[in-house]
């Protein structure tokens, strides 16, 4: 993980930064003093008057004419559990995975489960933060001390403690500490040191900072633009935070923090330089995976229980292997397939581990194995076992469930729900039929067919895969029929013999490409698109299309957009 850095590096960085830049001009209302704690210059003290409503010197002129409707509201956005876990890893300089220690939250009907207005800190979450952090930090307090030799001296010099605090803040608050905060955390250290060891006291300070609202909430408040008071411009640190989490799911690295400090992020070009740099980092594979996993439901794979009798080999190991395979698949698309959306939808190159040997029908092996699956059996992301398993019921293939899933995720449409008080009077079905034959009642019964005709072609196209993603050509002893036709949309009229054929068609369908742009938008901003976002979505699609559907170009367009860099005042 690129986000993994040693505390020492951060400390060196913060020392460097605070000496070179005596005073950050990067003030905003979330941290209005905006000065590194060590800066005591007169210039800095003057700058501290900045607060709500004060324009900053480095406002992008484009802000003066920006239409408020085209940007989202100023807000606080709580870290997801994954982002929080990545923050703790960065703070400790070693990888910890805290995700399993929190409630997974149920899979949303649609969407990503990250909407900013749905993430709060209730008493259970707050208490869990305490439990998880105190346990994790107790086990790592030695690492905290080792990170700086001066911390292990019997009497810790205050400048040593200051440097520790600033390094923690750059990782967890994603900005330097204010003077008042430095005093606050120094006092906390002293108070705890009365009864506890230096290591325990450092751990307590780290715990307080990681539980602080400045860690838990990403600030997107910005500072009001003088000539256009309905608009606020995100501060360089806020922007660095947004860039880092959007691309890598983790806090900013030192180069990004340096770009925030030296002001280069105030301009679109500076943002683009950092965005393009991070696209080449390992962290980007993590960030892209988080998006894809939430988009396709892999994040909630554990929720999709399978019947042990029908799938005796399916275990937690299988799920772990499926998730790992999916991540390697995405890495391959990003790194070796030029981030091509078409390849995302059609590539059959994948890297598997032994628990997946049976799923792919390959012989036993150890370690990991690169395979190119048969192109008549697989086509890209939506035939990965993880995606199929996460979207199938316990025993059967679930054509209706799969159909709704594909409609939502690839076409950005949902069939209407079954009518209220639906009266169904279905006679018992013939056990010799295939599932598809038994489900034919959905298209023959007028009560059902109005909706099922939308989703069934998508769902039946996947009949070649059982509920854990194994390819099959027989169902109930008869040959699987995965053929069909999509006739219900404007731009996508396809006739196909199999899911692979359909997915190949969908890979170049304008409906699907446009839907993908919307999905990335929703994930990036943690909200649904509105009319005011149409221009950005169209521009993003145009850039995506112009690059022959290179996903990096789509991300670059969105992540350098005005909507990314500015907010609307409430």
């Amino acid at each position: 993980m690129a986000a993994k850095r040693s505390i020492r590096n951060l400390i060196l960085l913060s020392t460097f930064l605070s000496s070179v830049f005596a005073c950050s001009k990067a003030s905003d209302r979330w941290h209005p003093e905006g000065c590194a704690s060590t800066s005591k210059s007169a210039a800095c003290k003057t700058a501290k008057s900045g607060g709500v409503g004060n324009a900053l010197p480095r406002t992008d002129p484009i802000a003066d004419t920006l239409d408020p409707k085209t940007v989202g509201y100023a807000r606080l956005w709580r870290l997801t559990v994954q982002q929080f876990s990545n923050t703790v890893s960065a703070a400790l300089g070693k990888s910890v995975n805290l995700v399993a220690k929190f409630d997974p939250g149920s899979r949303p009907e649609d969407g990503f489960g990250i909407d900013s207005d749905k993430l709060g800190i209730d008493s259970i979450y707050a208490s869990n933060l305490e439990t998880v952090l105190s346990e994790t930090l107790a086990a790592s307090s030695g690492d905290l001390v080792k990170s700086m030799p001066c911390l292990s001296e019997p009497s810790i010099a205050s400048d040593c403690l200051d440097r520790f605090l600033n390094a923690m803040a750059l990782t967890s608050f994603r900005r330097p500490l204010t003077d008042a905060e430095t005093v606050r955390y120094s006092n906390l250290f002293a108070a705890i040191k009365v009864n506890f060891s230096a290591a325990d006291s450092l751990a307590a300070v780290a715990e307080a900072m990681l539980r602080s609202p400045y860690t838990q909430f990403r600030s997107e408040l910005g500072t009001t633009v003088a000539n256009n008071p309905a608009i606020s411009q995100l501060s360089p640190y806020e922007l660095a935070t947004q860039i880092a989490f959007a691309l890598t799911g983790a806090p900013p690295d030192k180069e990004l923090l340096a770009a925030a400090e030296d002001g280069t992020l105030a301009k679109k070009e500076g943002v683009e330089t950092q965005v393009r740099r991070l696209m080449t980092s390992d962290g980007f594979v993590n960030g892209f995976s988080d998006f894809v996993f939430r988009w396709t439901g892999i994040t909630w794979l554990d929720e999709a229980t399978k019947d042990a009798k029908t799938y005796p080999g399916y275990s937690a190991d299988s799920r772990t292997a499926m998730v790992a395979e999916s991540k390697e698949f995405l890495r391959d698309v990003l790194r070796n397939k030029r981030a091509s959306f078409k390849k995302l939808m059609t590539s059959t190159d994948t890297t598997i581990t032994p628990p997946l040997a049976a799923v792919y029908g390959v012989g036993t092996f150890t370690g990991s194995k690169k395979i190119t699956a048969n192109t008549t059996e697989r086509s890209g992301l939506f035939t990965l076992p993880a995606v199929i398993a996460a979207n199938s019921p316990a025993v059967q293939t679930g054509p209706a469930q799969r159909g709704v899933f594909l409609l939502r995720k690839l076409m950005c449409t949902s069939p209407p729900p079954p009518p209220a008080n639906l009266k169904t009077d279905l006679t018992e079905s013939d056990p010799t039929l295939t599932l598809r034959e038994r489900f034919a009642v959905h298209s023959n019964n007028a009560n059902c067919s109005s909706c099922h005709k939308m989703m069934d072609p998508f769902g039946f196209s996947m009949e070649n895969y059982d509920a854990i993603g194994r390819f099959r050509d027989k169902d109930n002893g008869k040959t699987v029929d995965a053929s069909g036709a999509i006739t219900t949309t404007a731009n996508s009229n396809f006739t196909f013999k199999s899911g692979v054929e359909l997915l190949n068609d969908l890979a170049t369908s304008k409906d699907v490409q446009e839907c993908f742009v919307r999905q990335v938008f929703r994930y990036t901003f943690g909200r649904a698109e509105t009319d005011g976002d149409t221009a950005l979505i169209n521009a993003s699609y145009a850039a995506f299309a112009k690059s022959d559907f290179d996903m990096n170009e789509l991300f670059a367009t969105l992540y350098t957009s005005d909507a990314f860099r500015f907010r609307r005042e409430k």
């Binding site: 307080a208 838990q216 408040l221 229980t305």
Partner: protein, 460 residues
């Protein structure tokens, strides 16, 4: 999308499982006098109704028998129960699961502001209801008497639709479901249960740990106070911080809590303090359900809350396969909702569903059995409580709102008669909700939801 700005009070009550926390000193309701009896209210909602043909007792109000019915397992509690047949949860012109869940405890049709379909089974935002549910009304009435005003728990909810939510605050905003028993345990019981093991009790060491925890909370509070100022006039974002402040206050209260464990609660929560944790996964549904019920029983025993709500796996989602139960020797692998819905296979589905209804009855029996076994003075915790098992509709296959299951246990300190089987002509369920509120001590309530006046039909 623009959401309705919420004020601090709304958020305070509407986020989180243990929504309201107040130090006793903060509560000073005029004219309030604690009842001699501490009344507790429990609701369990199982979704999608029951198999009607098997559910109700045989016989009539004068003479009835549980043998051979879904309720057979409740036979030992016959004298503790009030069974009410003939109630109707009229959910209006909406999806039965979503409309039914909203109407179940609020008596109000769902809030159409935010529906994206006429049937309202999907809903933007989280203000699905128009008024408070009875569990939250009871919680509010007793807030300040206990550390936590209500526990609102859910077992493997699989849907974001309104259908899984039956608890709403006064503004009609959802009270979210806490789904992990271990995090609920840590938040509420961990400190209290420390005193179960006297060998771990070193008062001086405990005092130091408490002092450290409070110092950390002080620093977080100071950051929060700064952050609130910096957010300025942005009410919605300020509310997020205020909500975190309230959550911190709750942790402070549990650190300060004078409550100490009792032998019964130590025993009841043993699964949390010894042995390996059970993974909170659907395959462990039954074991997790038991943990949830144990938490509720202990919270009642220790008087940590007066209102607890448990929502079982929901209709309208994919539900959870009930593989711990068998039919003809085979585990039941269909999801609960699939069994209740399409009637794709009536020959096999109805018998399976009856088995699951019976399982739910046995779970209710477990909980009220625990309450009955807890002595409180000369009576029992069950005598001082009301426990309700109900569903948002009457029967799944037809999605009818008629004859909703309505099983009450306990006497609410003598306010509710028991040992009864009421067979009413089809009646909207508001009178039953008002009866519960009156019995629980909210004596001035005369109506609820769509009916400002609804006679307390269970109290006459």
């Amino acid at each position: 999308m623009k959401t309705k700005p919420y004020n601090r009070r709304d958020l305070f009550k509407s986020f989180g499982a243990s929504a309201l926390l107040l130090h006793p000193i903060l509560s000073s309701r005029e004219g309030y006098a604690e009842n001699a009896v501490k009344k507790r209210f429990f609701t369990m909602m199982t979704s999608s109704g029951v198999v009607q043909s098997n559910f109700w007792p045989k016989g009539n109000s004068a003479s009835y028998d549980f043998t051979g019915t879904t309720l057979e397992v409740l036979s030992p509690f016959k004298s503790d129960l009030s069974l009410v047949k003939g109630l109707r949860n009229d959910y209006g012109p909406f999806d039965s699961h979503s409309g039914g869940a909203v109407s179940l405890l609020t008596g109000n049709w769902l809030n159409t502001d935010g529906c994206n379909k006429a049937s309202c089974d999907f809903h933007a935002g989280d203000t699905f209801a128009k008024s408070a549910s009875i569990d939250q009304m009871i919680a509010k009435y007793y807030s300040g008497k206990t550390a936590v005003s209500s526990l609102v728990l859910g077992l493997f909810p699989t849907s974001e639709r309104p259908s899984k939510y039956i608890s709403y605050d006064e503004a009609g905003k959802v009270v979210p479901l806490a789904t992990n028993p271990y995090t609920v345990f840590n938040a509420i019981f961990k400190d209290i249960i420390q005193s179960c093991d006297s060998s771990k009790l070193d008062p001086a060491a405990l005092a130091k740990i408490k002092s450290k925890r409070k110092s950390i909370l002080d620093a977080i509070n100071a950051d929060l106070a700064d952050a609130v100022k910096q957010v300025g006039l942005n009410a919605e974002e300020k509310a997020k911080l205020a909500f975190y402040q309230d959550s911190i206050r709750q942790i402070e209260a549990t650190i300060d809590s004078a409550a100490s464990s009792t032998a019964a609660s130590c025993n009841g929560l043993k699964a949390f303090t010894t042995g390996p944790q059970i993974a909170v996964k659907a395959e462990n549904y039954a074991a997790i359900a038991k943990l949830m019920m144990d938490l509720i029983v202990a919270a009642f025993q220790l008087d940590i809350t007066r209102s607890a709500t448990l929502v079982w796996s929901v209709g309208g989602g994919n539900g959870v396969p009930s593989t711990w139960e068998t039919f003809n020797g085979q585990p039941i692998v269909e999801s609960y909702h699939a069994l209740t819905h399409h009637q794709a296979d009536p020959v096999n589905f109805d018998p399976k569903l009856k088995i699951l209804d019976e399982w739910h009855a046995s779970q209710f029996a477990y909980l009220i059995g625990q309450l009955k076994a807890s002595k409180e003075g000369s009576s029992t915790l069950l005598d001082n409580s009301l426990a309700l098992w109900t569903s948002e509709i009457g029967e799944g296959s037809s999605h009818t709102s008629l004859n909703m299951p309505f099983v009450l246990a306990g006497k609410a300190g003598g306010a509710m008669k028991t040992g009864r089987y009421l067979q009413l002509p089809q009646t909207e369920h508001h009178g039953a909700l008002v009866s519960i509120l009156n019995a629980m001590g909210l004596a001035t309530v005369k109506g609820i939801g769509r009916f400002p006046l609804a006679a307390p039909i269970l109290l006459t």
